[in-house]
């Protein structure tokens, strides 16, 4: 920088140089800059068998579905028909290890359990996700006979978890019922063990029906 002092006073010269210095700092105010977007909102739900989404509990995998629709069932012995003693139901699920990514053996006996887990990832905000289950009014056999879905209940467990009833026990109501609410960046999971109330004698046959679990966020 060069200051010409010949025709101006010392005070004027200092002023000019100061102005130039300030301008130089302003001109040099360039910097590297980066646009950053937050992680995508993610919902993850599994009931029984299914693939984990992302690694080690990120729930960051490719969107999609996997696994089979698991079945729970019970055969009522003739001697016990409608005696009011609840009968445990078996499951074809083989899922025992948590989908959380920590290796916990959440469902140690999957042949009588169904693992249910739900995760919600989002950045900021106060929106929550809601886990619901919808059941039809009844199960139906080939002859059109019915058994109300309210005859089926479940208990919950989660060995190794401090909140084994994070998804509560309950009884299907033949409609849609809310099971849990998930704040952002949480994952809940436990095992459901189903039972049939066996409170009345039913016509012979195989009764079937499907319940659907849904995780949704606004």
């Amino acid at each position: 920088m060069k200051c010409n002092l010949r025709r101006i006073t010392a005070r004027q010269a200092a002023s000019v140089c100061l102005v130039v210095l300030v301008c130089a700092d302003i001109v040099a105010a360039h910097a590297w800059s980066l646009g950053v977007t937050s992680g995508d909102r993610r919902l993850f739900l599994h009931v029984g068998n299914g693939a984990v989404s992302g690694s080690s509990g990120t729930l960051n995998g490719t969107a999609g579905t996997s696994g089979i629709v698991n079945t729970v069932q019970v055969t009522v012995p003739v001697a016990q028909l409608g005696n009011g003693t609840a009968l445990g139901m078996t499951s074809d699920s083989t899922q025992s290890v948590s989908r959380y990514g920590d290796g916990n053996n959440t469902c140690p006996t999957p042949s009588s359990q169904v693992m249910v887990g739900a995760g919600f990832r989002r950045n900021g905000g106060s929106n929550s996700a809601t886990l619901t289950v919808a059941s039809p009014a009844s199960r139906v056999n080939a002859s059109g006979d019915t058994i109300p879905f309210t005859q089926i209940s479940w208990t919950v467990s989660a060995p190794g978890s401090g909140v084994p009833n994070v998804i509560p026990a309950g009884t299907f109501n033949g409609g849609t019922q809310t099971l849990a609410t998930l704040p952002g960046n949480t994952y809940i999971e436990n095992c459901h063990t189903f039972s049939y109330a066996n409170s009345a004698v039913r016509a012979a046959g195989t009764y079937s029906g499907r319940v659907t679990y849904t995780l949704a966020s606004p």
Partner: protein
């Protein structure tokens, strides 16, 4: 020394002292660029007990080119600065090729990347930067305006 010469000497020394007083000096690194130019954060595991558990991270390469022509031969310290853009902190951790120092920086702070005599008209390096944050942003996108500043000796 004539009257005019002594005045110029006094003024010059005053400017030099003023330069140190004026620390820090913002440096021009407008030729720096990131690859890619924008990034999306990826979710970190939800497991508790880890820093930024449940948060997000992204990786970016930054080709650094700092204009130091006005400071060649001068001694000082250069810092990388990340001004705070919102309440939610961003942590940047980087490695370099060796011209600049690796380090860590959190929103609102600055970290030393060079100390010594400015060797030439430019300082160049390549950084591999990992960005991490919690999932508590006030918006879904933000712009991080890093810059470099010099504390001259």
């Amino acid at each position: 020394m004539t009257m005019r010469a002594s005045f110029i000497a006094v003024l010059a020394s005053g400017l030099l002292v003023g330069t140190a007083w004026a620390n820090p000096h913002r440096l021009d690194d407008s030729l720096s660029h990131t690859v890619p130019p924008n990034v999306q954060m990826q979710w970190l595991p939800l497991k508790s007990g880890q820093q930024y558990a449940g948060g997000m991270e992204a990786w970016v390469r930054v080709n650094i080119r700092i204009d130091t022509r006005n400071w060649m031969g001068r001694s000082g310290r250069i810092y990388m600065v990340l001004p705070r853009d919102e309440a939610s902190n961003i942590e940047a951790v980087w490695t370099t090729q060796g011209r600049l120092q690796p380090g860590r920086l959190v929103s609102g702070e600055r970290t030393l990347v060079f100390a010594g005599t400015i060797p030439g008209a430019t300082l160049e390096d390549q950084m591999q930067v990992r960005l991490r944050s919690n999932a508590d942003w006030s918006s879904n996108s933000r712009r991080l305006n890093f810059h470099f500043e010099l504390d001259a000796d």
